[in-house]
Amino acid sequence: MSIAWTNRMLLLVALGLAALYLFPLYWMYVTSLKTGSEIFATPPGMFPASPQWSNFVYVWETRNMGRFLWNSTIIASGTMALTAILGTGCAYVLARYRNGWIDLALFLVLMLQVLPASLMITPIFVGFSQIGLLNYPQLAVILAVTAKAMPFFVVLVRATFMSVPGELEEAALVDGNSRIGAFWFIVLPLARNGILVSAILIFMQAFGEFVYSKSMIQASELQPASVGLNTFMGPNTTEWGNIMAYATIYVTPILAAFVLLQRRIVSGLTSGALK
């Protein structure tokens, strides 16, 4: 087999896998536009015969989606802001100093990343309830999600900081800047891309967060869209069209943002690795 042939085969395999991977997303969009009878038709149609655009309006109004999405935004923004503020300094220190303690700290940070949310939720819930944090459920969720997202952020942003040459900082110090000034005006602007991208990824992750919100937020007017979607579904659900419309409304903005920022995200993630 020639190289061109191999490449073509590999491309075909890649396309096949991508299609397989993206099929649920496609099915969500298609189902959201189908009528009730179409959804249960065998064999299922790949395209809706008469798109039911009214599904979206109906779901938005009856399920109070504005409220849910707003709550999701609050939690995601809070998580992003807190992670960025706390994590940037941490990542900077981990990037600039090299010794055994730093290695240990990095190891612990990565350990945290390994623990699944569904395992962590019980101790977090007990702890938060004891100090009364559950009276501010959204804040509680923001704190919990921040703790969960932090390692990811720190590791990414650390790589970004490591790509900023230390000599620039030293030049700034000699030029008359303080240590903090050099960080703020020289290092931070140069690491901006990496930090922004990591923060956006954290936002997206927090926007879809479910386990902590479901467990800690009882009041439905404070719940995020992920929990709202979950309450929509019951054991006897047949409204798949509406549920998929809900999911579509929920997912599309994140998806759109990702597609728009895709190039920056990729370059931001690899900038540390390539330099």
Binding site: E167, E170, A172, V174, D175, I186, L190
Partner: protein, 358 residues
């Protein structure tokens, strides 16, 4: 002459590693001092300690009479030019040049005037809007210099600023840096591993090795009177030849440890019978007729047109220089005469230069 920079008993440890050992150095105002030595000799550490980027373990550093040991870099009023130039990538040339002035919140008019003047000095007036990534290596180097000049500091510190340039540009910039120094009359400390840079640019050369100052002095003094074998081998290109030898009974000649044990005359009297190392600079060996001098076999000829560098097969290898081209070929026999005025004698054990015994 008052000392602009003075180091007294400066010691620096990195953990157990002793990076600077009891450094004493006094640099006069307006002097151009080169710190030179092989990598890891501590020259960069010394420079960074002057800048305040490293803290010294003990000793004292004075800049313009003020003790700066515990001052952060920004309070020392020194400017530094880095090997990588360290230009701020997110600022254009104008902003790079004026960064220090803007930090001091100088009035805008003053900043602009200074930037214009410096840009003219370094010949970059037309590039003020460019970003560092849009400049060539030489231009970046100039911006880095300009950023130092605009500060009018108490001292300029150069950390191998020319080593990232290609050979011809390096020779050109060497002259420019020196001319700039002459014009500004500022005190400069220049770190380099290239002894030619040190010799050509500096008024005062400090040769370092393993954290100690091996010798310091005017460039040609180091060349003519190296204090030990290390300095002798480090200064001068091509490098000095070293041959084991023993001082003759008379004390006025040395018997070289070469086949036939040739005897070479020395200028002056040395302790008879002492084991020594004789240093012979390639440029002080000359070809003579077949009945005199050291008889050797040519092993390699490297000709660059203006001069030819010829190596002879001996243990250790001996090399010499002749002006212009040569007819000598590998395998030819050659006889070399040695000028007794230019023979360096070092003790075989301590490797220190042995003075003439009168």
């Amino acid at each position: 002459m008052t000392a602009q920079i003075e180091l007294k008993n400066v010691e620096k440890y990195y953990g157990a590693y002793h990076a600077l050992k009891n450094i004493d150095l006094s640099i006069a105002k307006g002097q151009f001092v080169a710190l030179v030595g092989p990598s890891g000799c501590g020259k960069s550490t010394l420079l960074r300690s002057l800048a305040g980027l490293e803290t010294i373990t003990s000793g004292a550093i004075h800049i313009a009479g003020e003790r700066v040991n515990d001052l952060p870099p920004r309070k020392r009023d020194v400017a530094m030019v880095f090997q990588s130039y360290a230009l701020y990538p997110h600022m254009n040339v104008m902003d790079n040049l004026t960064y220090s002035m803007r930090l001091k919140r100088k009035p805008r008019a003053e900043i602009e005037a200074a930037a214009k003047e410096v840009a003219e000095t370094i010949g970059l007036s037309h590039l003020l809007d460019r970003f560092p990534r849009e400049l060539s290596g030489g231009q970046r180097q100039r911006v880095a210099m300009g950023r130092a000049i605009i500060r009018n500091p108490k001292a300029f510190l150069f950390d191998e600023p020319l080593s990232n340039l290609d050979a011809s540009l390096r020779v050109h910039m060497r002259k420019e840096v020196r001319a700039l120094h002459n014009r500004l009359g500022a005190t400069s400390v220049y770190v380099t591993h290239d002894q030619i840079e040190a010799m050509t640019m500096a008024d005062h050369v400090v040769v370092m090795r393993d954290g100690i100052i091996e010798q310091q002095g005017a460039p040609l003094d180091l060349y003519a009177h190296p204090a030990n074998q290390f300095v002798a081998g480090f200064i001068g290109s091509p490098a000095m030849n070293f041959v084991d030898a023993r001082i003759s009974e008379s004390g006025e000649a040395a018997r070289l440890n070469l086949p036939g044990e040739p005897l070479i005359p020395l200028n002056g009297s040395y302790p008879p019978g002492r084991s020594v190392i004789v240093g012979l600079r390639p440029e002080h060996l000359s070809v003579v007729g077949p009945d005199a001098g050291l008889a050797l076999k040519v092993s390699m000829v490297e000709s660059v047109g203006s001069a030819s560098y010829i190596s002879c097969s001996a243990t250790p290898e001996l090399s010499f220089v002749v002006e212009g081209t040569t007819r000598l070929r590998s395998g030819d026999s050659v006889h070399l005469a040695i000028d007794p005025d230019h023979v360096h004698v070092f003790d075989a054990k301590t490797r220190l230069a042995i003075g003439v015994v009168n």
